[in-house]
């Protein structure tokens, strides 16, 4: 039995007298013990989806089950079994680190001691500050405390809503390392993020935009959806290069990616020499043209465009 089963969930809300569809016919499963990523920009519907699955709000239609329990009828059973870390820091700012942890252990009828082994590696990093009030912690320490509190009752499923937003590249790497270890403990993890590069660390990823899933697949499967030939191009005049590439016959899209432009073509008939020759004729120098494999961001933009049309 999958840990999470979602069947055609929709949710809308009113904003300024206009009906906004936050989620539209979302369906997916998450296998037990797997790490499932929901990836998309702010406002795509990630938090709404997580709040429905954590039984905090009701969907307008559709059904969902978490650990075999219905999110509407059996919400009490679900709440005992899940850990939830919301995007916004939601612990008690005026309780100390240790008091927060004790509080969450107590309301779940357990003790810090009983499940210490699960949180040990994370909690040890903030234990030297256990007498500090949570409100006085730095962002990174708050995040570790919130994760410890979400885990203290050894949940079978962990929901993490944008745990790495605003977090630097080093801390993000460390955080994902912690998630992989929790997965080894048999915990199913659903995590949302706006950072596309984090997709590679999930077992399966859903790309979400405007309340709809653009794709659900393994990271490898997701990138293999990109069928057009893709080239990384650079030259001595990057500003002009963008204009020129957009005029290139056979061009499907041109997007900057770090120091290169990613040029997708509508045809596989055009070769490296054709692109090179065209750019030379446009007075570019130090030209580099390399075939590349698409990444998650390439796919995301391609899917975004096709749903806009």
């Amino acid at each position: 039995m999958p840990s999470v089963v979602v069947d055609t969930i929709s949710k809308s809300y009113m904003a300024e007298k206009k009906k906004v569809l936050a989620l539209e016919d979302i369906s997916f499963d998450v296998a037990k013990g797997s790490l499932f990523g929901v990836i998309g920009p702010d406002g795509a519907g990630k938090t709404t989806l997580f709040r429905i699955l954590t039984t905090l709000i009701l969907a307008d239609k559709g059904t969902a089950a978490v650990d075999g329990f219905d999110v509407v009828k059996e919400y009490k059973d679900i709440r005992k079994r899940i850990g939830y870390m919301p995007g916004k820091f939601s612990l008690y700012q005026d309780l100390t680190v240790e008091e927060n942890l004790e509080f969450f252990a107590t309301i779940f009828n357990t003790t810090i001691k009983e499940n210490y082994s699960l949180i040990k590696e994370i909690y040890q990093q903030i234990e030297p500050f256990k007498d500090r009030r949570a409100g006085k912690l730095s962002g990174g320490m708050k995040q570790k405390l919130a994760l410890s509190c979400a885990l203290i009752h050894r949940p079978s499923i962990l929901f993490l809503d944008e745990p790495t937003t605003g977090v630097d590249a080093v801390s993000r790497k460390e955080f994902w390392h912690m998630l992989k270890q929790l997965q080894n403990e048999g915990i199913t993890i659903l995590v949302s993020t706006p950072y596309m590069d984090e997709a590679a660390l999930c077992d399966r990823v859903a790309l979400i935009q405007n309340g709809k899933f653009l794709s659900i697949d393994t990271p490898e499967g997701t990138v293999s959806q990109f069928k057009k030939p893709l080239w990384a191009v650079k030259s001595d005049n990057m500003y002009k290069l963008q204009q020129d590439l957009r005029q290139f016959k056979g061009m499907a899209s041109v997007y900057p990616f770090g120091e290169y432009y990613h040029l997708a073509l509508n045809t596989d008939k055009l070769l490296k020499e054709d692109i090179y020759g065209y750019l030379t004729s446009q007075a570019h120098h130090d030209i580099e043209v390399n075939p590349i494999k698409a990444g998650i961001e390439d796919v995301f933009m391609e899917l975004m465009k096709s749903t806009d049309d």
């Binding site: 206009k18 920009p41 406002g43 962002g139 590249a169 706006p194 997007y255 120091e259 961001e297 975004m304």
Partner: protein
């Protein structure tokens, strides 16, 4: 002769201490007119403190710095008037309309009513927002909000604009459109001082400075930094440097 490489921002041993904690430790750098200067560092490295001093919001403990020729120690009001500022978290009033926000910010920066009108019209056309001019900013999609925020940050044609993680949480297409706007502003001579957690965006900067534990650990063009640290991407450069951090901040 006109100084072609006029420095719009200079910092010389700029330092900020809070008690016995040195948040910013003797940082020195110059940023030229029209340059896109990327300011990177792990959380807690001192970026925000440094930026607050340059914006005239916090006085240095020691050292000197100037922005647009004004001293951060003595001319903070002049600095505030001559810069633009945008952050991911707060920039526009959500319960004012698109037009009202521009009217408000134009007024704050001492622009005349005709100036505000002309500029408002220009931005509405430029961003294709004419139809949304009376919409509350709070109900605009995030991508539009960020682009509008940037336009408002440079509404009064400041010579320097500070962007604090301007693209956090934005979709990949909008993120790139946003950078096109940055390029356009820089091309017109606006100096851009930008922080980001997206390492591909570090590549779009003319020069990048990486802060570690309050100090500038590296500063150069992305190409030279990658060569120096034998890395294929700025992300690897950043990881190599930021992992040296000893501070257990955030």
């Amino acid at each position: 002769m006109i100084e072609l490489n006029a420095h719009m921002i200079t910092a010389d041993k700029l330092t900020k201490r809070f008690g016995d904690f040195t948040a910013v430790d003797q940082i020195s750098f110059d940023v030229s007119k029209g340059e896109i200067f990327g300011f990177l560092g792990a959380n807690g490295a001192g970026k925000t403190t440094a930026m607050r001093m340059l914006c005239g919001l916090s006085l240095p403990t020691s050292g000197i710095a100037s922005v647009n020729g004004f001293d951060v120690n003595t001319e903070t009001e002049k600095i505030k008037r001559s810069i633009g500022y945008m952050s991911q978290k707060f920039s526009l009033y959500e319960d004012l309309t698109v037009k009202e926000n521009m009217r408000f910010y134009g007024g704050i920066y001492g622009m005349t009513i005709p100036q505000i009108k002309t500029k408002t019209q220009y931005i509405l056309e430029h961003l294709h927002l004419e139809k949304e001019k009376d919409t509350l900013v709070g109900s605009l999609p995030l991508g539009w909000k960020q682009k509008l925020s940037f336009s408002v940050a440079i509404f009064h044609d400041p010579s320097v604009v500070f962007l604090d993680e301007p693209t956090g949480g934005v979709d990949p297409i909008t993120r790139r459109e946003f950078w096109e706007m940055i390029y356009e502003a820089a091309h017109k001579g606006t100096t851009i001082f930008v922080t980001t957690h997206y390492m591909d965006e570090a590549e779009y900067c003319n020069r990048v400075c990486i802060m570690v534990d309050g100090r500038i650990e590296a500063m150069d063009t992305p190409t030279k930094l990658k060569r120096q640290y034998e890395s294929a991407h700025m992300e690897d450069v950043f990881l190599k440097l930021a992992r040296k951090a000893k501070r257990n901040a955030d």
